[in-house]
Amino acid sequence: MIRIAAVGDVHLDEEMRGHYRSRLDGLADSADVLLLAGDLTKHGTAEEGDVVAAEFRGLGVPVVAVLGNHDYHCDAQDAITEGLRAEGITVLEGDGVTLDSPGGRIGIAGTKGFGGGFAGKCASEFGEPEIKGFVRHGRQVAHRFGAALRDLDADLRVGLTHYAPVKDTLAGEPPEIYPFLGSYLLAEAVDGAKVGLAVHGHAHAGVECGLTPGGVRVRNVALPVLRRPYAVYRLEAVPEPVAV
């Protein structure tokens, strides 16, 4: 058995220093890894990034993160990433990591992801350059995410994004903003790689549970949705797919 703890959208700043860490006491006993699903800071400043690094360092379990749109707000995403890495936190963007745990090797691929919308109701690379740029960015990150998932050599594969891969977990959000909350291309990447669990954040008003069209469990771990410091999911390792 593998135990995955996850939370997103913690939106920390100086004012909240120490507040989150005080809720993480039992983490090492209850999980093999902690996933952070982006929007770790409030405004994306390097100073807020330092607060995140201090809250989540040295917890006794590996911590794997992706950034969210908020973490890009001040163009300090690289400084935030470096700060987290300096405290031993793995930050993924279009790549993956494999961790050993008593229950087997956990492979995690991650990306911030992007908007774009869901099958049948999404924008296409057509028209003004701004629209084309929007759609293209969503395609590129989903493409890299899929490749990173497929490259994982692990007993259990987990997809970690900030933006949502499915609509299921957006229930409660106004449908008008779905194209800004996620992209079905992320689900397509998940479904193409024998993934055991897809974790995302970003949809603060959504719900926790969903499913990709291919039947992979999706969990929206945005803190306002969880209403608890983190979620823990216990999974069976899924055997490697047979190469064909």
């Binding site: 039992g26 409030k42 069976e236």
Partner: protein, 274 residues
């Protein structure tokens, strides 16, 4: 300006106290209704108020007592009272829990009152002090209303609004001033003049984008002159800030707090995904 005999006597007291404080080297500013009078409002026939620093109260009382004024024991911890014959002098140092500051006395402008120059509290500071003083048991708007009319061009109203944002009484008073056209619509704040059907959307965006709040998940509903905010915030401090910023952004609306704090209250329990 017409002045009754009582006012004339109070002006004499005012002059006397000002000279004593000046000679004693105690920084002060004329406050209350006579500050308003100096700035153009109708004369008062009540008492004379001076603002002094909390650390200078004792020195001021001593100097005045030496000159023959009669100190009176008071229960309040924000002013000292003295009598010049039958005329009351208040030395105010911590009105409505806000201590008088050197900056505030620094903003006081020397003005001619009853043939001497006296530092007179800045019109904005005076207005803030008046509005903060409203409480459940003291919310007669008539005198402050008269003062607001007389001083309206000297007052920095957005600053008054900001400084009194946490007082529902001050808010009500400012709405009244706006409806009486004493003050104009909030010119520096375009949201105040907005059609209600756009207000919710713009307020929600402003709360997300304002660096003081950065609150992305706040829901805003507008009904008439009521604005309801709901959603989760990580701390009480943030909730206070969101409310203060919203009140500042839509000063002519009543902002209701349906926000909740601490989205981390739940226990972490495991979900088995078979």
């Amino acid at each position: 300006m017409r002045e009754g005999p009582e006012t004339a006597a109070l002006l004499t007291t005012l002059k006397r106290v000002a000279i004593i404080l000046k000679d004693a080297g105690v920084p002060f500013a004329l406050s209350g209704s006579f500050a308003a009078y100096a700035r153009g409002a109708t004369a008062s026939d009540h008492d004379v108020d001076f603002a002094v620093l909390p650390g200078d109260v004792e020195r001021a009382v001593d100097a005045l007592a030496r000159a023959g004024l009669e100190p009176v024991r008071v229960a309040e911890d924000w002013l000292a009272k003295m009598y010049d014959d039958a005329r009351q002098v208040d030395l105010i140092y911590r009105p409505s829990e806000h201590p008088v500051t050197p900056e505030m006395l620094g903003r006081a402008a020397p003005m001619k009152v009853n043939s001497i120059h006296v530092p007179v509290l800045d019109a904005t500071d005076l207005m803030v002090m008046l509005l903060r003083a409203f409480t459940e048991h003291h919310c007669d708007f008539s005198a402050p209303l008269e003062i607001a009319r007389a001083l309206r061009e000297q007052v920095d109203w957005p600053a008054v609004r900001a400084a009194t944002a946490d007082s529902p009484y001050a808010h009500a008073f400012l709405v009244l001033l706006r409806h009486l056209a004493v003050i104009g619509p909030n010119e520096e704040n375009p949201m105040a003049r907005e059609e209600p059907q756009y207000l919710a959307g713009h307020l929600q965006q402003a709360l997300a984008e304002d660096p003081r709040t950065g609150a992305l998940g706040i829901r805003v509903r507008v009904h008439g002159t009521d604005v309801h905010l709901s959603g989760d915030l990580p701390s009480r401090e943030r909730r206070r800030m969101v409310l203060a910023v919203a009140r500042e952004m839509v000063p002519d609306y009543v902002v209701h707090d349906d926000l909740s704090v601490d989205p981390m209250e739940g226990d972490t329990e495991e979900e088995r995904l078979a």
